[in-house]
Symmetry: D3
């Protein structure tokens, strides 16, 4: 029985091997990524059953997505869309610290997700429904799918988790803010950076922001500070976690990893301090290698970051 | 003063480094390609001034196209479209002999070309206008651009060259055939494979086909047999050229090279036998390396293929 | 419900990127391979449910094997052995035509397979049990596992398939011949090269050899001639299949592909001529790329080889 | 009409992909570099017309230089020398911080530049003439070319810019110092590191050094401190600019980028503070990727470094 | 005449090119490594004659080891073992700071070293015998070889050097400690990290530990603190050396380099302060590139680290 | 005691990884090559002691040459020239069959070889002196070195072997012919292609040519036909050898391998038929991989080519 259900668009990913303007990159690695499937992989790595639902093209990239997620132990419901190709991401690094991502996802298979692609019974049987605010920006049908999934989950008492994941290539801050404010009242767990939080509510300082967001509904508000750690407001209690020190290779996917870590520990019934620590550790692992999700940790890995001196294992 | 004007869509190209299903390809090279810009490069390499007109996105791939074509000595008129991205090609090889090309060009900058993007004065000042039947399949505005360009050229007495370049991903044989039959009467030089020729006219055997095509208007009909050479019907005379023997690495671009070789020698006033030989040699060079156009020959290279034993040049 | 059950050792595979002595190879790709899992993948690609059982180490290579086979749609029963590492293969090419494979599989997890690792109920529920004569050469316990699996299958009326797959690094021709002669009487389908067939029976010429082998029990005897095609003796009828013409990149895995093609078509109830053709086509695909199994065909691919001229698919 | 004219030697560049002694580097990328053409590219990227003049061999490397500079929008006057090859640079990294550059430029085409290769009319029509003190160290004829170009520029009131660019492989400090002291009186803008400045004048501290240099003629003295920023003395006013914080990949080309940034802003009529900031930003971009010039900024890029947190652009 | 004799196991090494879990590494470089041969190379690079003795398989990896060590100027006595393969190391990086090394060395050729493989006359003729505590953990015969070699050296007055090099994959701390305590009394120079030192003696703090170790016999005790430098206790005098600041790429081999630097300077008769500095510099160089030994310094390189600003050498 | 002495220039070699014009090659491998050191390696691989003498620069490339040749078991006398760099070769492939080699060897260390660099005692102690006609084209001093070496060998009764190895980049056919005709009378073994043979003597047909050459002095005349095999005229007897069938990757070095095979078998006292077969087999191996010498065979390899079907060795 699955514990977490998520859905969204997963794309083939061409990642440049070297830094500099993309047109000089020359060599690219083929992989894949998608905010929600990254979360599903992260939850599965940490020992919980996760299901990912989405549309892919009837093409090699769709097959790559299906095979990779299945290989990672995710329960994959990849619907094959005969009329649209799998979307693409091209990822470059203008400098080591300036990631540059381009999409070829307009009218892609993934963006054609509809409410009828989802399985209400599956959602009801899970303990968490996780969505991102990328999906409602993809198409009207995808937005409707998000709405219905949340409705099904709430009716069934399934916890609803939302990661803001603002994408300026898909909609404006005003459009995103409007949808988020409509939706946040139905959400139990909210993941956001400070800038993302301010799309929804206005408040000076991270703590005030978290409180303003919690006032709109979410029982758990997670504010992420990137390399500076994170903050959680749950049950009126504020917790802060210091970041792990790692050599950053590629920051894409860190937020998804953070959500996966938090949700996996919630599923595991971990205490709040440990849960926030796991979220931070997962985020730290995510930035240590180039892919969006490849370096996500297993339970046994979580201790590796605390004692780097023990790392040589020969 | 330019001698040849051409226009169409040029795309960024991700080419898989190894054979096998695309999802296992792992490593890709970034390059670019487009049937008409391949011809322009080929003509420029052989010593004639060529102009390429097209739309590209206001993005790194658009810059790559502009810089590369300019670097190759083509007179580039790359219009920057702020509202659409540069199109993409993904090229894999299912086996060494089965090229597998996927497009991400729907609503691309290149497909948004319009008649007003062209420069009638430039066309009138040239000696050849070269188009491919890819462009009319991209969009209504692009089709209109082809129609107008041909009209301008004919009025001005500029030779019109058309390469069929049938792309099944863009339109059906019936759609292509209909457009080609409408257009062929305004064409002076027609390049086609046997299968492509049969989209326009029906006849048993290559020679009968060539005659049937010539009866529709073109003064020069070139029928290409891939690794088996080519045939030309000009002024009622049939000429055949044997292929050069080369180790084929990637067949994409061979037809464009053939057209470039033929047109360059027409511009140079070469005699018909030599002109057909140059076309075949250019086609042979095109298949010897992975990119669509990188291995196109210069005049001095044309003799290299005849004496392979002399090739070690140290 | 699974249709084919197989088991054996699958290893991590370091494949040299260039030809020449292995010590100059410099660059290696990480992959995986195993005769039986190659067959399972091949059968799954052709649309039938296949289960692979085997031991892997509790290490990254074991995880790679598990994830990859699952991703390919094989029902994976990869037992994690805490006391032994996953075996390794190093594959080089002394020349383009001389494959050079080294093993690090002594006392590996895969070689520690035992009869109790198998699931008799699963074997009974399948339609085919496929084994190779690599497994009995790995260890006494593995040999016992093969013996018991065959016994279970025969009792339940499940068809038993055996591919000789002689490995000189594991045992001598005499040892192999002795085991094969003991076992062949319990086998329904036998796959062998001519040289392998002569480990079991002696006869001049391929056809006489096939008959001598059939006389020992197998209802279907398949004799493979590499790039020269194959022969089948079934029900007293000899069929020969011409090879497909492909550019060979790496011959390893061709025999496994052949078996997969044959078994998949047997499961599909195809007629014998088509079945042998499918076996040859699968073998042909296997040699077109570097990995042992990556290029195995799907049903839709099987037609690609017949019309190579149609291969450009853009 | 060109705004900046520069000339010098540009070479093909083999850059090692990994750190360590060059003999273990194994993999190399082919590119190109030259102090003056780096400046021309940098100025063109920032929106001003720049012309580069130089000799290249009648070989593939000469073609590479010509095509690349033209592709970058530089007005290229690459004279093809039939009697000498294009020079080479081999760039390794002994450690991440110790760049190791070797030349094969003795008697190269580039070193055979003569005064007659230059176009006095072109120099007179420009607003800036930029030279480096590499060129006078290449050959007697190249030294003469620098002398004459400066004379033409001064007579015509064209601003003369000189970057010291001391190369110990080409001449001794004494030789360089002698030439620099002869020349500095004819220079309007002088770019130097502290160590380079002391080849010309002696003074304790950077500010005193700048003043001593300015006393010799230059209206603008730029002293570069590498990762520590830079200082400008213009019209008796000293300005200091803090460095941008970037992850350094390859420091080669930073000085050329600095000069390009300064000169482009001088051409743009920017105020002195902004001009020095642009110089520093261009230098910062230059070190973020491996090539000497590939990562140079456009105007729109200049703001990227100030808000690194905004860098994720998906 | 050789100055230093050492022996042990050297293995082929597959090193992952990217960070992340090993199963996603994809690309590997082939090299080689072994603690004792690393020391021999390091000593040879610094100008002293070093002999390495060991068994390798009669295979390509054995040839690679022999050729590489000979090429590095080490006097190689690589015995070819026809019955066992050369051992393997697989080196990945879980994160940039977490090296992950796996062995395939059980029953390898190298582990089959015996006392009779050594040459007592050679040991007697040298000035230093260097061993590591890896060798006694490989096999009973290898342990016996170490014992006899030390006995020969002591009898002949040859200085005995021991690097603890604890490998948890080979034996437990208790097993290692027991052997080390038995052996340390016969040792003149002892190299250990703090944790390794505590396998032998118990004391709070590095200095107390060094004294406790020296009390067991060694005249020179070297305690290594990784990136924090090192400490030496010789003749009752404690010396500390600060680390060099370098960008770390791969920490494997740093300890071997340290030992090589120290022993080379001992052979050269350098004064103790310089000797410890050379050891630290060699260790610093070792971490600057990926291989275990490729970046080891020559005498002339030792000054490079002190003035990084001088590093650009073009 | 060495059996064969040879000398000449060995260079660092940058080899393009892909076919096509060199300026598009992008990725290069670093290696080394030199006609005479290739022969020395080939002879050493086949079991005979060979000495190579030459000058290299005091640089990384010189070290690479020294280490690699020593690693290959050649007795290396690489004189370090402080005043000149190691020469370079850049090797591209215009097509798979058209090798394109460029040199940077003018005034290189290798070209500065002098007669005094050689060791007459060493030559006298050997059984064969092998030279190529590249060396006399490098410089006057190198030409003098060849003259003196041959004189020493003849006086001492050491067999003199000469490979014509005509290099058009170094001298004209007339210059080469003049030197060859002066020298051939002092030569015992002559290696040449037909075209090279005609630089010395004129005759229609290969056999007549061989006889004309033998009439000038050489006891053994070897005429090489590339992929078509070879011919030997010794003691008035003509022998022809058919070529081995291999997939050609890079033809450079085939002639050197042929000479090495012949000379090694002469040293071994093999009968003439076998000797010519070994020469052909060595030549065949040389073309199977990219480097000039890496794939040269050992004795045990010589049988591999005869039974390609046995090549799978797992």
């Amino acid at each position: 029985m699955t514990e977490l259900v998520t859905f969204g668009e997963t794309m083939a990913l061409f990642a440049a091997r070297r830094t500099g303007p993309l047109r000089f990159a020359r060599d690219f690695d083929l992989g894949l990524g998608g905010a929600e499937s990254n979360v599903a992989i992260g939850v599965a790595r940490l020992g919980h059953r996760a299901t990912w639902i989405g549309r892919v093209g009837a093409d090699e990239f769709g097959d790559l997505i299906r095979a990779t997620l299945a290989g990672e132990g995710v329960d994959v419901r990849a619907l094959s869309d005969p009329d649209a190709p799998t979307g693409l991401m091209i990822k470059g690094r203008r400098t080591a610290d300036l990631i540059d991502v381009r999409y070829y996802r307009k009218d892609s298979a993934g963006s054609r997700l509809t409410a009828t692609d989802l399985d209400p019974g599956l959602i009801r049987s899970a303990r968490v429904l996780h969505v991102s605010a990328i999906t409602p920006a993809l198409s009207a049908s995808a937005r409707e799918a998000v709405r219905e999934a949340i409705a099904v989950a709430r009716t069934a008492g399934v916890m609803v988790s939302l990661d803001v994941n603002y994408r300026k290539a898909l909609w404006t801050p005003a459009e995103a803010g409007s949808w988020l404010r409509e939706t946040v009242g139905d959400v139990d767990v909210l993941f956001a950076t400070e800038a993302e939080g301010r799309l929804i509510a206005d408040a000076a300082g991270a703590e005030a922001l978290a409180k303003a967001l919690a006032a709109l509904g979410p029982k758990h508000v997670l504010v992420k500070f990137g390399a500076e750690g994170a903050m959680e407001l749950s049950g009126g209690v504020v917790r802060r976690a210091a970041p792990y020190r790692v050599t950053e290779v590629d920051s894409v996917g860190a937020g998804d990893a953070f959500a996966a870590g938090w949700l996996a520990d919630w599923l595991a019934g971990a205490d709040p301090d440990r849960r926030l620590g796991t979220a931070c550790a997962a985020g730290a692992f995510a930035v240590t290698s180039q892919g969006d999700w490849e370096s996500l940790p297993r339970r046994a890995d979580l201790t590796l970051l605390t004692h780097p001196a023990d790392g040589v294992n020969r």
